[in-house]
C-alpha cells in the first residue's frame, strides 16, 4: 500500500504545481502594475474565478505563497466569515500581517511581544506605525542582509490584502475599509485583491461610485474550471507514466459529477483518489500496478495465491484459451512460466498505453476541428468513446471519417504536421514508420501544389476550347465531358491522396485504439467499479430510506417479506407498516386512527384467526411498538407534532396535501 500513498502525493503535487503555474502570469502583471501606483487610488486586482468556490482556497493559497516569495512579505488573506464588522476585519488583518512579519525576520522576539500587546487597539494608525517600524528596521539592518532582502523584495514592499470571497462581505465593511485605507495610502502602500465568483459587475453593484472611484481596478480572468479539468485529465489519465487507469464508466461518473453537480476540480481529484484507494483495496493484484521498472521485481515476488488470482482473471482466461494446448497447461500449472508470461503481458500493456495515448491525440487533432464535432470537442470525450468500445464501429466515427474526407488541403496539411509532432515527441521508436509515412504524405501534398499549377493551365486551356464552340449541343457535350474529366482528375490527384491519408489514420486507429477491455490483464491497472464510486461520492440517502421503508425485502432477505408490486406484506417491520399507512394520509394524521390501523395490520399478521371479541382493547405491546415506530418516523423527519388539533401529527414529506 505504499505505492498508493506515493500516487496520492504525486497527484496533489501535480495539482499544486498546476495551480501555481496558472497564476504565475497574474503575478507578473501585478508586479508591473503595482509600480505605477497612483495617488489617492488603491491599486486593486479583481480576480474572476468562476463558480467552483471550493477550489478557490487552493488557488488563493498558491497565490499568496507566490506573492510572498516574489513581491512582498506582507500578505493577508481575509475571508468574509471572519469579518462581520470593520473591527474584526482590522483585527484579522493586523494579526495576519504581523504574524507573517515575524515569519520573515524571526530574530526580534521582543518585537513580537510588543506586537501582541499592540493587538488590542487595532486601527489604521497603529498599522501604519507598525509598517513604518518594520520598513525602517529593514533599512537599518546590516547591509548584507539588506541586499539579501532587497533582491527578493523592494525597498518598501506593498501590503497585499486578499479578499477571498468578495460577494459575501457586507458592503458596509468593504466600503469603510476602502475609504479608510484610501486616506492612508501615502503612508501605507496597500494593494487589494478581490476574489470574485460571479461576474465583475458585482463590484460596481457592491460599491457605490464614490467608493469605487478610490480604486484603480484591473481585471484578471482566471481559467475556467473546465480547462482546469482538461489539463488534469491530460496530465493524469493521458500519460503512460501513471500506471493507474480509470475505466470508461468510472470516468463518465466522475466527469458527470463534475459537470452536473459542482464544477469543482477538487472534488474530481477527490474522486480520483478514491478510485485509487478502492482499486488498491479491492483488487489483490494491484501490486502489479506500478511503473515499468518495478514490474519485474514484483512479478517475481508473487506468491502462489497471487498466481492463482491471475489465473482467475477473466481476461487472462480468454488469453489462455487462445493458446495452444501445451502452453495452456504450462500457464495453468507452472508458476514461474506464468510469471514470465505475466511480465511480458504487462509490458505489452504498457506499450499499448503509450501507443494509445499518442494515436488518441492524433485522432483528436483530426476530429476536434470537424464541423459539429461528431466525436466530441474535448479529448476526454474521445477518450471515453475509445474506452467504451471499438471506436471504429460507432456511427460517430463513420461520420467523422466522412467529414475528414472533405477537408481542404491547408487544414489537412497542418493536421498532419501536428500529428507528426505528437508522434515525434514521445519515444519515437515504434512510430518511426508512421512518422515516415506521414512525412511522405506531406511531401506528396507539396508535390501536389506544384502539379496543381500545371493543372490550372490545363483547365484554362480547356476553357479556351470551350469558347471556340458555339453550338448548343456541342457545348452541352463538352461541359459533360469536362465535368467527368474533372472528377476523375481530382480523384487521381489530391482526393486520392486525401483518401489515402484518411485510410491510413483509420488503420492506425484500428490498430492502436483497441478498447482496454480486450487487453489481457487489463484488470490490474483499470478501475471499473463505477457503482461503488457513485455510491460513495454521489449518494442518495433518501432513496436508501425509501427502499428500506417500501421494500424491506431488499435488505432483509426473508421470504415472508417478499411481495409483489408496490405492496407490502403485513409481516414487515413496524416502521415500514407505519410508514406505509401514513402515506395514505393527508396533511394531518390522527394518531388514534393510525394506531388502530396499525394494530389491525399487526394483529392480522400475528394471529390470523383470532376472534374479534378479544381485540377490543389494543394490546399494550402493540401500543408500545406503535409509539416506537412513530417516534422513529419523527426522527427521520417524516412527521412532526402538530398543535392544530389534539392528537394529530403533521406530515412533512411529499404529497402532504
Amino acid at each position: 500500500q505504499q505505492i498508493q500513498e506515493d500516487l496520492n502525493k504525486q497527484l496533489l503535487d501535480n495539482l499544486v504545481s498546476f495551480m501555481s503555474r496558472s497564476h504565475s502570469d497574474f503575478q507578473e502583471k501585478t508586479t508591473k502594475w503595482t509600480c505605477r501606483m497612483k495617488f489617492r487610488e488603491i491599486p486593486t486586482a479583481a480576480l474572476v474565478l468562476g463558480v467552483n468556490v471550493t477550489d478557490h482556497n487552493l488557488t488563493f493559497r498558491g497565490l499568496s505563497d507566490v506573492l510572498q516569495d516574489n513581491i512582498t512579505p506582507y500578505v493577508a488573506l481575509l475571508e468574509a466569515k471572519d469579518c462581520p464588522g470593520i473591527k474584526n476585519l482590522m483585527q484579522k488583518l493586523m494579526g495576519q500581517l504581523m504574524n507573517c512579519d515575524i515569519d520573515v525576520d524571526s530574530l526580534e522576539d521582543e518585537d513580537c511581544v510588543q506586537v501582541s500587546q499592540n493587538r488590542v487597539r487595532c486601527s489604521m494608525p497603529s498599522l501604519i506605525s507598525w509598517y513604518e517600524s518594520v520598513t525602517k528596521k529593514t533599512d537599518s539592518e546590516t547591509p548584507s542582509k539588506k541586499r539579501n532582502s532587497s533582491s527578493r523584495h523592494w525597498q518598501s514592499p506593498p501590503v497585499v490584502v486578499i479578499f477571498k470571497d468578495m460577494e459575501s462581505f457586507t458592503t458596509k465593511v468593504l466600503q469603510d475599509f476602502i475609504v479608510i485605507s484610501s486616506q492612508h495610502i501615502h503612508e501605507l502602500p496597500l494593494v487589494l485583491i478581490f476574489g470574485i465568483a460571479t461576474s465583475p459587475m458585482i463590484m460596481h453593484r457592491l460599491l457605490p461610485h464614490s467608493v469605487s472611484s478610490l480604486l484603480c481596478i484591473e481585471l484578471f480572468q482566471s481559467l475556467s474550471c473546465k480547462e482546469h479539468l482538461s489539463t488534469i485529465i491530460d496530465k493524469l489519465l493521458l500519460t503512460s507514466h501513471f500506471p493507474f487507469k480509470l475505466g470508461e464508466k468510472v470516468l463518465q461518473v466522475l466527469i458527470n459529477i463534475f459537470l452536473y453537480h459542482d464544477f469543482s476540480v477538487q472534488n474530481f481529484i477527490k474522486g480520483f483518489q478514491l478510485c485509487i484507494v478502492e482499486h488498491f483495496y479491492s483488487q489483490p493484484l494491484s501490486v502489479l500496478c506500478c511503473h515499468l521498472v518495478d514490474i519485474k521485481k514484483r512479478v517475481y515476488s508473487l506468491s502462489h495465491d497471487q498466481c492463482e488470482n491471475i489465473r482467475r482473471l477473466p481476461s487472462f482466461r480468454r488469453y489462455v484459451e487462445k493458446q495452444e494446448s501445451g502452453k495452456q497447461i504450462e500457464l495453468l500449472t507452472n508458476d514461474s512460466f506464468l510469471k514470465e508470461e505475466t511480465e511480458k503481458l504487462l509490458e505489452d500493456l504498457y506499450v499499448y498505453h503509450e501507443n494509445y495515448v499518442s494515436i488518441l491525440r492524433c485522432l483528436h487533432v483530426f476530429t476536434s476541428s470537424l464541423p459539429k464535432y461528431p466525436l466530441g470537442k474535448q479529448i476526454r470525450e474521445l477518450h471515453c468513446a475509445c474506452l467504451e468500445n471499438q471506436v471504429w464501429e460507432t456511427e460517430e466515427y463513420e461520420s467523422s471519417l466522412q467529414l475528414a474526407r472533405m477537408l481542404n488541403k491547408a487544414d489537412l496539411v497542418t493536421m498532419l504536421q501536428q500529428c507528426v509532432e505528437i508522434l515525434m515527441s514521445p519515444s519515437g521508436k515504434e512510430f518511426d514508420k508512421t512518422v515516415e509515412k506521414l512525412k511522405e504524405f506531406l511531401t506528396q501534398f507539396q508535390n501536389l501544389e506544384a502539379e496543381a499549377s500545371q493543372e490550372r493551365d490545363v483547365s484554362v486551356s480547356s476553357q479556351k476550347e470551350l469558347q471556340k464552340k458555339t453550338d448548343l449541343y456541342h457545348l452541352q457535350k463538352t461541359l459533360l465531358e469536362l465535368k467527368e474529366s474533372r472528377r476523375s482528375k481530382k480523384l487521381t490527384k489530391f482526393e486520392m491522396l486525401r483518401f489515402e491519408v484518411v485510410d491510413y489514420i483509420d488503420r492506425l486507429v484500428r490498430k492502436y485504439l483497441v478498447p482496454a477491455d480486450n487487453r489481457t490483464l487489463h484488470e490490474i491497472v483499470y478501475f471499473n467499479a463505477a457503482t461503488v464510486l457513485r455510491g460513495h461520492l454521489n449518494a442518495a440517502p433518501r432513496t436508501a430510506l425509501h427502499t428500506a421503508l417500501n421494500n424491506p425485502h431488499w435488505y432483509l432477505k426473508n421470504q415472508a417479506l417478499k411481495c409483489d408490486g408496490g405492496g407490502i406484506s403485513n409481516k414487515a417491520p413496524d416502521i415500514c407498516i407505519v410508514y406505509k399507512l401514513h402515506l395514505e394520509c393527508g396533511r394531518l394524521i390522527n394518531l388514534v386512527d393510525w394506531l388502530e390501523a396499525f394494530s389491525t395490520v399487526v394483529m392480522a399478521a400475528e394471529e390470523p384467526n383470532a376472534d374479534a371479541a378479544s381485540s377490543d382493547q389494543v394490546d399494550d405491546i402493540i401500543h408500545a411498538r406503535f409509539i416506537r415506530a412513530v417516534s422513529e418516523l419523527e426522527l427521520l423527519g417524516f412527521i412532526k407534532p402538530s398543535k392544530q388539533k389534539t392528537d394529530h401529527v403533521a406530515r412533512l414529506t411529499w404529497g402532504g396535501c
Binding site: Y281, A544, L581, D593, A597, L635, L636
Partner: protein, 576 residues
C-alpha cells in the same frame, strides 16, 4: 345519504353511491369488529348528477400525472446509470407528488394489509393485491378512465354497456347493514369523492353483475384530443392546486382523540419494558445485515487515514454499529464519542471536551471560533496527535445549525482528526453547501440496519403524549423541593387554580392581581414585591410562563399538561 361537504366539494354537488367491497368489509367485520367501521361510510348512488366541474378536476389529475412523468424523466437523467445496489428506483417514485388521498384510506389500506395472508387461502380474495399495487401505470389508467367518464357525462350520455377489460376489478355486493354506522368525520374531503368516483368507474366498467342501475359503455374519445386537452392545462393548474390544498386550514381527519380510547398512558419506563419484551422481528436477517457492514470496518479505517471522513446513512439505528467499530478498532487510540441526539449537546461542549480532555488545556475561550483556532494550531503543531471523532446523529436538532456545521466541518478538515458520523433525517444532506461538503470530504456509506432507534428516540419527550410528563414531573418536584415552604404554597395555589379551570379551553391563566389576592388570603406573601420576587424565581426555572393579555393584565400559566399537574399535586399531598 348526504354528507357534509368539504371546501371543494361544495362547488360541485355530487352524490355517489359507494358500494363497498364485500371482501374487505367481511374481513373487517370478522377480524377487527367495529373498529374500522368508519372505513365504510355509506354513500348512495345517483350517478346522473355529475356536474361539469368534474371534468375540470379529472383533467387536473391527469395532467398532474403527466407532470409527474416529466419530472421523473428529468430525474432519470441523473439516474441514468442504474446503480447496482438496488437503489435504482426512479426518482419519480420517491419524490413524486402523490395524488390526493382520502382520509379513511389509511384504515382501508390497513385492512387490506391485514388481509394479505389470506390471499393464498381463499382464491376469490386474490383481487385485493391487484388493487393494492399502486403502480404509476395503473393509476394512470384510472385517471384515463375518469377522464373518459367525465367526458361522457358531459355529453349527457347515460346508457352504456361495459366492454373495457381493465384490470382494476372490484367485486361488489349489497351493503352490509351494520356498516351503516355514523361517519365520524369532521369534514369530508373532496378527495373522498374523487377516489370514490374512481372506484365507481372501475366497478361499473369491470363488473356486470352489479345491481347498479347504470349500464356502462365507454367508447374512449380519440386519444390525441385528450392529450391536447391535458397539455393545455398543464401549467398553472398544478400550482393553483398546490395552493388550494394548502390554503384550506380545514383538517380532513376524524375527531377522535387518544383520551377517548380510555387507554392508560405509557410512560418512558413501561414503554421501555414493553418493548424489551416484544421480540425483535427478523433478528437473524438484521444480524446478517450488520455483519455485512462490519466487514467494512478496516476499509473505513484506511479511508479515514487517507483524509476522507465517513458518513453513514440508511434506515435503522447506526449507534450499535458505530459502537462496535469503536470497540473493535479504536480501543488504543484517542477518540471522542458525541451523542448528537442528546437534547442538550452543543458544538461548544464538543469543542470543550476536545480542548479539556484531549488537549488537556485548562482555560476558557471567548468564542467557539477562537477555540477552533486553538485546536487547529495544536493539531498542526503536533503531528503525532490523532483524534477519532464519532458523532451519532450529526443531523440532530442541536447540531444542524449552520454555524455548528461550519465549525464541525472545519474541525473535520484537519488532517489528524478523523470524523465518522451518522445521519438519519431525510433532509439531512441539505445542511451542507458546497463549501462545507468540501471541508467535510465525505465518503458516503449506506448502512441500513433496521435496528430500532432506542437511544435516539428516548429523549424525544416532546411529542408523543403517551410518554407522559415523567421528566417534567420529576423536574417539577426537584425544583420545588429546593424552595421554601411559602414558595411551594404559592406554586400549589397556582396549580390548583389551573386544574380547576382545566375544562375551559380558552383559559388564559391567572391574572397577577387575583393571584396576589389569593396568596395574601393564604398568608403566603405580605406584599406584591415578595410575590414578584418569588415569581421571578419560578420563571427562571421555567416553572411558569407569563403573558400579557389584551387588556394589559399579566397572566400566569404553568406550561405543564393537566395530568402531570394532577400527579404532581397528588405527590405533594402524600409528602405533606
Amino acid at each position: 345519504m348526504s354528507r357534509p361537504e368539504g371546501t371543494r366539494s361544495s362547488r360541485r354537488s355530487l352524490q355517489v353511491k359507494f358500494v363497498p367491497d364485500e371482501d374487505v368489509l367481511k374481513h373487517i367485520a370478522d377480524d377487527a369488529g367495529s373498529k374500522v367501521r368508519k372505513d365504510k361510510a355509506q354513500l348512495s348512488v345517483s350517478v346522473k348528477r355529475f356536474v361539469k366541474k368534474l371534468e375540470n378536476i379529472s383533467d387536473n389529475e391527469a395532467q398532474e400525472i403527466l407532470e409527474e412523468k416529466n419530472y421523473v424523466a428529468a430525474l432519470g437523467i441523473c439516474a441514468q446509470d442504474p446503480v447496482g445496489n438496488g437503489s435504482n428506483i426512479s426518482g419519480g417514485e420517491v419524490y413524486s407528488f402523490q395524488t390526493p388521498k382520502r382520509s379513511n384510506k389509511m384504515a382501508e389500506l390497513a385492512s387490506e394489509l391485514a388481509q394479505t395472508p389470506e390471499k393464498n387461502v381463499a382464491p376469490d380474495h386474490s383481487k385485493c393485491p391487484e388493487k393494492m399495487a399502486k403502480t404509476p401505470q395503473s393509476s394512470k389508467e384510472m385517471f384515463f378512465l375518469m377522464h373518459v367518464f367525465s367526458l361522457l357525462f358531459q355529453n349527457k350520455k347515460k346508457e352504456f354497456v361495459s366492454t373495457t377489460p381493465y384490470r382494476l376489478r372490484k367485486r361488489l355486493s349489497a351493503p352490509d347493514p351494520y356498516l351503516e354506522s355514523e361517519s365520524e368525520y369532521s369534514a369530508s374531503c373532496s378527495e373522498d369523492e374523487d377516489e370514490e368516483e374512481q372506484k365507481e368507474v372501475s366497478t361499473v366498467l369491470s363488473d356486470q353483475k352489479t345491481p347498479a342501475k347504470t349500464k356502462a359503455a365507454s367508447t374512449p374519445p380519440p386519444r390525441n384530443s385528450l392529450a391536447k386537452k391535458i397539455k393545455e392545462q398543464k401549467m398553472g393548474n398544478l400550482v393553483e392546486e398546490y395552493f388550494e390544498a394548502h390554503s384550506s386550514s380545514k383538517v380532513l381527519t376524524s375527531d377522535r382523540t387518544l383520551q377517548k380510547l380510555r387507554k392508560r398512558r405509557l410512560n418512558q419506563q413501561t414503554l421501555h419494558d414493553l418493548l424489551k419484551n416484544a421480540p425483535l422481528a427478523y433478528a437473524a436477517e438484521i444480524r446478517d445485515l450488520n455483519q455485512q457492514h462490519e466487514s467494512l470496518f478496516s476499509k473505513w479505517m484506511l479511508q479515514l487515514h487517507l483524509g476522507f471522513n465517513i458518513v453513514l446513512y440508511g434506515l435503522g439505528s447506526k449507534r450499535d454499529l458505530l459502537e462496535k467499530f469503536r470497540t473493535s478498532l479504536l480501543q488504543d487510540s484517542v477518540h471522542l464519542v458525541v451523542n448528537g441526539y442528546f437534547p442538550s449537546i452543543t458544538v461548544r461542549s464538543i469543542l470543550n471536551s476536545i480542548t479539556e480532555e484531549v488537549l488537556e488545556h485548562i482555560g476558557t475561550f471567548c468564542s467557539p471560533l477562537d477555540q477552533l483556532e486553538f485546536i487547529t494550531k495544536r493539531f498542526k503543531e503536533d503531528p503525532s496527535l490523532e483524534l477519532y471523532v464519532l458523532i451519532h446523529n450529526l443531523d440532530s436538532q442541536m447540531l444542524r445549525g449552520e454555524r455548528s456545521q461550519q465549525i464541525l466541518a472545519q474541525l473535520s478538515s484537519l488532517p489528524s482528526i478523523y470524523l465518522i458520523a451518522s445521519i438519519d433525517h431525510i433532509n439531512a444532506p441539505l445542511m451542507w453547501d458546497q463549501a462545507k461538503l468540501s471541508l467535510y470530504n465525505w465518503l458516503w456509506y449506506e448502512t441500513t440496519t433496521f435496528n430500532p432507534y432506542v437511544e435516539e428516540t428516548s429523549y424525544e419527550n416532546s411529542f408523543l403524549v403517551q410518554q407522559s410528563g415523567s421528566l417534567a414531573l420529576s423536574s417539577l418536584t426537584h425544583v420545588l423541593h429546593s424552595l421554601t415552604l411559602n414558595a411551594r404554597g404559592i406554586f400549589r395555589l397556582l396549580a390548583q387554580h389551573q386544574l380547576e379551570k382545566k375544562d375551559n379551553p380558552s383559559y388564559p391563566g391567572l391574572s397577577f392581581q387575583d393571584f396576589y389576592q389569593q396568596c395574601r388570603e393564604a398568608f403566603l406573601v405580605n406584599s406584591d414585591l415578595t410575590l414578584r420576587a418569588q415569581l421571578t424565581e419560578f420563571r427562571d426555572h421555567k416553572l411558569i410562563r407569563t403573558k400579557r393579555g389584551a387588556d394589559g393584565v399579566e397572566y400566569l400559566l404553568i406550561p405543564v399538561d393537566d395530568s402531570t399537574l394532577t400527579d404532581f399535586l397528588e405527590k405533594e399531598d402524600e409528602d405533606v
